[in-house]
Symmetry: D2
Subunit: 320 residues, 4 copies
């Protein structure tokens, strides 16, 4: 029986576990022998590869993070370590790979294919939602709902005191989490790397709105803006509201996967195994304009990240 | 200033409150005066209509159900009561309606338009996800996540005892909630009105799988199958597993709206106000194949409900 | 090194896993070698006993149910099977037992002590909170909070429709879950096996309160009353409100243990290991009037279950 | 009918809303006319006092924060403003006060009693759990469970990467939240203002435990230690683990009150109204050694804050 190995790589994201389960189940369904790689690329090199037992994946669909753990491996950039990885696969009859992670991981496996012709199928998973070519990456919906719960909790206090809160979300280059959170939490201010903001104009808008009787105020700021501290002080100084800063940090990465993440995980995983089964070699699973499909890795690299224009339009009102 | 009235009608669903807020905000943004109708069609007749104050909608985005309450009204079938409703609107200068609800409500307002030429825009909201012409209705994602939390809780017990659980979800004619829940909770059995099932074949599949050592088992059954009790006993008799029945009931309707429901609510609501602003008369907001759009009410009536084929394929494996 | 075996027995309850971890940690701390018994009494007989590795318990504190699974075993009533269990312990040098479960399990181990002089310490765990001699059993707080989330969700719908809901909780002989839930969810009606109710008087009270304009209504009924169906119809017939029945079922058993259950679990578990370390033989851990202590099993059997009188007083207002 | 006014004051805490409801209900039950004061002491001065309608409190039991809002008022230190407050009460026939808040608020009302002989009953509410004389303050259980959810989410990521996380909780002088969270989240390090720590000894303990193969590591630090940043770097430098800092901030204050907070709120509130009804003047409600009672305000001031010794003992193992 031909082997398919399943691994997670790069930053962890909710939805990885249901994707592991669905990939293993569908591989078995199509007559493959599924294997699990522990510790990502590092585990490929260090031979942490085991056959899937039913027990391994029967109770993981609801768990956050990844049971396979993940890692970032510098050694994989060197041929000798990739060769070791290849030999670990070969001796077990593993001829195909499913990798759940970000585009850095996909590029690493593309190089691996160039070296040893081991085809892979990539499943996009990162809470930043910043992989070009796909509208959705696993983990985003769960991250958004974790942020929602935190902001709804903060709102209880904000409302009790007519106070302002600045909430910093993850997102170095991509403000998707901050934008979607701002629109869905009734925030009055949103700052993300992609959009220009105008504090004078924001101040004027809120002064007109509050007419001297400020309600509570929530501002959502993406980490990549480096503006959380400044905005927090600005609200105190300019709007004369007591303002508190909260940095959500890794709370956003965890949590039991939402139904949407579980469903997307199933579809991506079935798609990945099908792609390998059809003999395709270096494809990334995508969800674009409402449709599932695949995109060769070199086209992902050429794609531009496209932000939902309706969401952008709603956020622009919160930047000025 | 021209008035726009916003109302909820039919069964309540999470996402109604953020839709109310977004519709009121966008109406104001376009220069309309927004009103809120309490108690649905009944409130139109009984004149429970008030101008929106900022206070009314500033803190509702995270609440389940509908702050406007809803109702089903037989009186609205009679011309004299519709006339009363019309006069209530007219005396306030309300010339347009946004209605958030199901297709029964849309048909009622279509008749109202035929009588008095008051245009409306409909926002689909029902946890059954059974309005033809749109892939998504407000409330579905929240309902699915409420079911998920319940099933994940039951799983803790199931796993502790190697026991079986039959979980009945809502859904009289449409098994969407049950299908999506089955696939995302690792259920082994799924029964919905749309798909044929074969208990003999299910029994055989599970006997082969368990080989005399049954793991825990979760079965998801849509209300409309009327099979929950029977299946519960069948598992005990045929699979020789201790099986327990849970009927989720109205737990599924409530809960704070998820981010997806809040985001869809915003987009549907902005779309509805824009549609009225363009002078359109009896349009329903839809989300179809990944795109937002509008559909005239008469085309909704003509549409067939289309179920996601990938989801159906995954469920068919659980029906036999 | 002397061995201590840890097991769960009877119905599962949240808090069992943190108790397992705390007992294993404290046993190690005092120089014992901890073992885990899988499958409860059945596992003792069938020799499912393993040394604890750090990996086994390092990540279980937040999981619902019990990782050791539980069971009810009729074979344990027979001497020959208890002898087999004894030999399984003896060959591993296990001389003491920590059992987490209900009073049935405690009695079984008391017999085991009479036969083979293997001392045990019992940790009360059952969501029914019905073990005499202790005010608290593990799992109760988590169960109450699971019920709370369900009832709060139902309340969203109830409030949207001015509708009534009857919610059935677990509890065959003991109405603690129903009473505490009724008081903390703003229910208007509560029915439990311990308290008499008077439907005429309830009807009169609510008619006066609603004055023809009923608000929403929540009624909490313990399973053991067998009154859920009847009350549901009675509300429709007598109060003329649309009423829906929800049966929570095993949702109440699961869920991640609350902080209170984790904290009580730690204290009970440390107490259990300390009790065995002091050479005590058949003690149950208790929490009584705000203090932790131990009670010999024969005194548990003699104790009366005492219900919190302040809670009873608050509930009596909801029974008439 | 004699009036009783209910107010919240100081920092907000979950459990304030159920306490408001229970106090209003019980005041009515005993024949008083209940009033609600908006905005705390400031609202007393500025005459924001209204009769309770059933609508006001019928749907608040499950909401975080306080519907009455809270405030800190410097003006209340001046006699003229207290006089204004007194006249606002007098003109409505309000002769008694229930205040839900911290000891600063209690002292302010004690002065108010000295001035105008308006008796009050205080309900301790602060997530810091630092009011002497009582073992429990409203809001603590909810805060702990909010922290739990955040830490459990972080654990998903920590576990995926064998990474360390430093989590800062609230608590300037009192480390109760941090201590209870550390013990119930399986943390390996806990730092609070009350306990000395020894980083060398902690390092040695963890090096022995991990033997070069570190598992994930969670450290909980109370705000008042000012050690979060330092510890985060120390873990990287000394234990050679990748470590991330999370500052929970006001997430801890919000969230729907847990059952324990709702139940304590009911009992404290009933106790407060009963105390006033008996003619007592400046009593604080307490829960001490498992019993509810009252303590005159001057005795609260003289009391020492006592920390649960079993909890302290468990934490001491995490400080060295």
């Amino acid at each position: 029986m031909e082997g398919i190995a399943i691994m997670t790589s790069g930053g962890d994201a909710a939805g990885m576990n249901p994707a592991i389960k669905a990939a293993a189940d569908h591989a078995m369904h199509l007559g493959y022998e599924p294997f699990l790689v522990d510790d990502g690329l590092r585990g490929l090199i260090d031979d942490k590869i085991e056959k899937v037992s039913d027990h391994d994946v029967s109770d993981i669909i609801h768990r956050g993070g990844t049971i396979l753990r993940s890692s970032r491996s510098k050694r994989f950039f060197e041929y000798e370590h990739r060769l070791a990885a290849y030999e670990n696969l070969k001796k077990r009859g593993i001829e195909k790979l499913v990798v759940i992670g970000g585009d850095g991981s996909f590029r690493a496996l593309n190089q691996f294919y160039a070296d040893f012709q081991v085809p892979f199928a990539g499943i996009p998973a990162t809470i930043d939602n910043d992989i070009p070519g796909t509208d959705y990456c696993l983990g985003v919906d769960t991250a958004l709902n974790m942020i929602r719960q935190s902001v709804d909790s903060i709102r209880d206090t904000a409302n009790s005191f007519r106070r302002a809160f600045v909430v910093e979300t993850m997102g170095r280059h991509c403000g998707y989490l901050a934008m979607a959170s701002a629109v869905t939490s009734g925030a009055e201010i949103c700052m993300v790397p992609e959009l220009e903001y105008d504090l004078d104009s924001i101040g004027e808008r809120l002064r007109v709105k509050y007419q001297g009787h400020p309600n509570f105020l929530i501002a959502i700021v993406a980490e990549g803006c480096n503006m959380s501290d400044y905005l927090n002080r600005w609200i105190g100084d300019t709007l004369k509201m007591d303002s508190r800063l909260t940095i959500l940090g890794h709370i956003q990465r965890g949590g039991s996967p939402t139904v949407r993440d579980r469903l997307m995980a199933s579809k991506f995983a079935v798609g990945a195994v099908e792609s390998l089964h059809r003999g395709e070699t270096c494809n990334i699973m995508i969800y674009k304009s409402g449709h599932f499909g695949t995109l060769p890795i070199h086209k992902v690299a050429d794609s531009q990240l496209e932000m939902d224009p309706a969401l952008v339009a709603m956020c622009k009102k919160l930047c000025k």
